[in-house]
Symmetry: C2
Subunit: 220 residues, 2 copies
Amino acid sequence: MLLEPDQPSSEISATQLAYNKLRELILTGELAPGDKLKIDGLRSRLELGASPIREALSLLTSDQLVVRQDQRGFRAAETSRENFQEILTLRCELEGMALRQSVQNLTEAWTEDLVLAHHRMTRAEGRSTAEFELRHKAFHMALIGNCQSPLLLGFCSQLYDLNIRYRYLAGRASGYEGRKIGDEHKCILEATLAGDFEAANGHLMSHYETTGAFILSYAT
Amino acid sequence: MLLEPDQPSSEISATQLAYNKLRELILTGELAPGDKLKIDGLRSRLELGASPIREALSLLTSDQLVVRQDQRGFRAAETSRENFQEILTLRCELEGMALRQSVQNLTEAWTEDLVLAHHRMTRAEGRSTAEFELRHKAFHMALIGNCQSPLLLGFCSQLYDLNIRYRYLAGRASGYEGRKIGDEHKCILEATLAGDFEAANGHLMSHYETTGAFILSYAT
DNA sequence: ATGTCCAATAAAATCGATTTTTTTCTAGCT
DNA sequence: AGCTAGAAAAAAATCGATTTTATTGGACAT
């Protein structure tokens, strides 16, 4: 018989590790927009060789979180009011599209995924920001996860990340103060479970627009 | 005085070179769907070191042209009928969206871009496939290039590439035989220049649907 | 003073070699 | 025969060092 030797949480490649860490640093603003990302600096900061770091930076470039300059290295992508608007608008359009398709294909299995994702998010509300943000994204992805288009989901995931970066940059918790965020999610969930696309989409869009307006009011 | 010493066409990084070549090889099917992409093999084939090749493969992974497997290397992405359908559908939706916005913002400068792109495409008709495909993509990107959303353009560009790969795989020229492709483009162009989104979109969509049907009829 | 050229420094990009991991092959066992 | 374990081979992933490219600072000439 073959026993699994209790994999010691390694198993993950240095490239993946670098990607995860750098992504986190940029999303949270610890690496600020426009910052030069020197290979040597990151090498000592992450205690990794140049190769996995360069690979990770290449991946982040495709995610629009990093910009590569000819032979002059990498920087964290700049931010701007226009860029934020663009992300917000496009996100609404693509997620609306994906939500419509998801609701059209409504199944019992997906219903269960949704309920579960929502439950996990509410349970994570008290915990760390990182934990909640993870569950929050999972919930939003679950809402559109039944759309039968992996490519569209990938685009939405990317836009979600670009958007959340602005929320971090505007200061922690911003966008959520003074709102019953739990209620908003509940409305979206219930309309979706009921198969009512128009209602669900309305709630979802106003959820985004409200958060967006908050963030814009904070921006330079 | 400072003379430009007639840059000897280098200036391009090994990574970019690897990216361009590999992308071409995969799009044209010279590297077939599912093919194992061994670093050593590519190293000798492209006469480059491992680092730029790995970086290029990472970028192509984000493009969905390559798939990375844990610590088991890279392969050319698989193809399937469903995947093609997904690409086609999503492309129609996103390009429709982008075309609408482009037409709404119609300007004299953009009009000129369009006419120019169309002219270059028609002039390239007799020349090499590579030359024509370049101009063909440029024309289609120009049609939606006035939409004021770089992110959306990026998505469309990616979908265009994924789509054209299927056209190559179905065999050269497929999708175009027995059609007056020039006329189709002309219809799209003229409706767009006239600011008639509905007409332009109709022509564009049927252009894609027709090509799509051709390709599907060839697929396994 | 201002601008240009050149040397010195710093950083990016790339390569070759080493280390890990996966895959393949073979011998031994039931 | 079929299966498992372990050795050998192959490939991926990573590292350290080298090469190339960009940036900085200073001397010289206008």
